[in-house]
């Protein structure tokens, strides 16, 4: 049901963007109607270069996301579990977190040139903070009564992480992954666009430099579709992993 409504929403949005340029609300030259964009997209889909770029982008994106999540979870649990370490690192985290990843572009270009590695570094850097901050919140959220319960029954360190810390932090991790997925996607495309590493972003840059407006929009649509897919997947994972969580219990209307 929700999927149908969502689809309706997307269709409506597409229709709006079809009609607006057609009735002259926005200049058609720079705002091609949906049908033109989709037509262009259909053309792109037939080309090998498109799929190679999609492959590069998806690879960079997922790899960067995976590294960021793994790193964020491990570092977050490690830092969050020890209050002293948490206190000692928090100011540094506050400093590093807002440093715009775009400011690192010259740096990574120097180190790795216009390669996937450069973009990957940007992606990991940006997505890492999303996960880390969430995990830190999650670990801090352990219920003291639950913690006392675990202690009084003498669960060892590993059992505590496995049965207490991890489940408590999991909802936060999932939120972190959802946020990080989008940030990683955005940085993947941006990196490709600005650094020129191979992928959809680079195709977008080329299309822009060539003044090929519909082609550019077609590629942007692909990015958006990735975003929607990422949301669908993380939502489904959320429902499976967190079926016990209050937010999921309330999902079905009473």
């Amino acid at each position: 049901m929700n999927a149908l409504l969502g689809l309706a929403g997307l269709l409506g949005f597409g229709l709006l963007l079809e009609v607006a340029p057609r009735v002259g609300l926005v200049p058609e030259r720079y705002f091609p109607p949906t049908s033109t964009i989709l037509g262009e997209l259909a053309g792109q889909v037939g080309e090998r270069a498109f799929w190679v770029a999609v492959g590069d982008t998806v690879l960079t994106w997922l790899l960067g996301l995976a590294i960021a999540v793994a790193l964020g979870v491990v570092v977050g649990v490690a830092i969050g579990s020890v209050p002293l370490v948490r206190a000692a690192t928090s100011s540094t985290i506050e400093f590093l977190r807002p440093i715009p990843s775009v400011a690192l572009i010259p740096l990574v270009v120097v180190l790795h040139g216009s390669t996937i590695t450069s973009t990957l570094i940007l992606v990991v850097y940006a997505a890492f903070w999303q996960v880390l901050v969430q995990v830190l919140h999650g670990v801090a959220d352990i219920d003291p009564v639950a913690r006392d319960t675990a202690r009084s029954y003498r669960l060892d360190r590993w059992a505590r992480v496995r049965y207490l810390t991890w489940p408590t932090a999991l909802p936060y991790v999932v939120t972190g992954v959802r946020l990080a997925a989008t940030v990683a996607l955005i940085l993947t495309i941006t990196g490709e666009l600005v650094i020129g590493s191979p992928g959809l972003g680079q195709l977008i840059a080329t299309a822009r430099q060539s003044g090929a407006v519909p082609a550019m929009y077609a590629l942007i649509v692909v990015t958006g579709v990735f975003g929607v897919l990422a949301n669908v997947v993380t939502r489904a994972a959320e429902r499976r992993a967190l079926h016990w969580h209050p937010s999921m219990r309330a999902e079905v209307p009473a």
Partner: protein, 258 residues
């Protein structure tokens, strides 16, 4: 007193160590792109505390403030609307996720068509990125309003603005604040991005100009300035948060102690 000292020590300890490591590790650096920290510090003052403060830094901050404030209003407003209606939520979610996934740099040309190349466009770019964390968190916060409180309002016939102010917004406020905090760091990034494309002044523009002009120590000083700015804004944010959410932190602590 000792408690305050401990906190200050903990807050400054690691940064001091890291800066020291950087200072000494880079001291003899001949690498063009990794100048000694000493050099960077030396150029920092002359680079930023002159005309640039007025011509570049302040206008950038002004745009950031404007965009951030607008995103706050927009995000909370739309978030409350979407969060309190299941149908609206179902219809809009994929569209929002679609729009959210579009990287701001590719959005810039589109926004230029809408808002020109002046401050308006840059503020729009900042809004276009800042609005998402606020919007999504507001939606989540509004959805999580406690059922018993909801019932309390219904039985006592607390409705209209009183209900919005005292139930919906307040109970969503911890989440909204979380979103607003994320949006702040996003905002700084977008302040830079918005100046990457059509600008003739600004903090981000200047940093990029340094990069393109191979003035590497100046570029580094800009990156550091951006970091410091982030810290400063996040400290400011914390002060505000402390005001707005004192009840929340208090009740959380109380729950933990009980």
């Amino acid at each position: 007193m000792t408690a305050v000292l401990t906190r200050v020590g903990l807050a400054l300890g690691l940064p001091v160590v890291l800066v020291a490591v950087w200072w000494f590790a880079s001291a003899g650096s001949t690498d063009f792109f990794f100048p000694p920290l000493r050099t960077i510090v030396e150029v920092f003052g002359p680079t930023w505390f002159g005309e640039r403060l007025v011509d570049d830094v302040l206008p950038s901050l002004g745009r950031l403030a404007a965009g951030y404030a607008a995103a706050l209003v927009l995000g909370v407003g739309l978030g409350v609307l979407i969060g309190s209606n299941r149908w609206v939520r179902a219809v809009t979610e994929p569209v929002l996720e679609f729009l959210r996934a579009i990287p701001p740099p590719v959005l810039v040309p589109v926004l230029m068509l809408v808002a020109g190349i002046g401050n308006g466009m840059k503020i729009l770019v900042i809004i276009s990125g800042c609005v998402w964390p606020i919007l999504l968190n507001t939606v989540a916060g509004v959805r999580a309003v406690d059922g018993v409180l909801e019932d309390t309002c219904r039985t006592y016939r607390i409705r209209g603005t009183l209900r919005w102010r005292h139930l919906v917004l307040r109970s969503a406020s911890p989440q909204i604040v979380t979103g607003a905090r994320q949006a702040l760091s996003v905002g700084i990034i977008l302040m830079v991005i918005s100046e990457m494309f059509a600008a003739s002044s600004g903090l981000g523009f200047t940093v990029i100009q340094f990069k393109d002009g191979f003035q590497i120590p100046e570029m580094w000083s800009g990156v550091i300035l951006l970091g410091l700015l982030g810290v400063l804004l996040s400290m400011l944010f914390r002060v505000v948060e402390h005001q707005v959410l004192s009840w929340y932190h208090g009740s959380r602590t109380a729950q933990k102690e009980r």
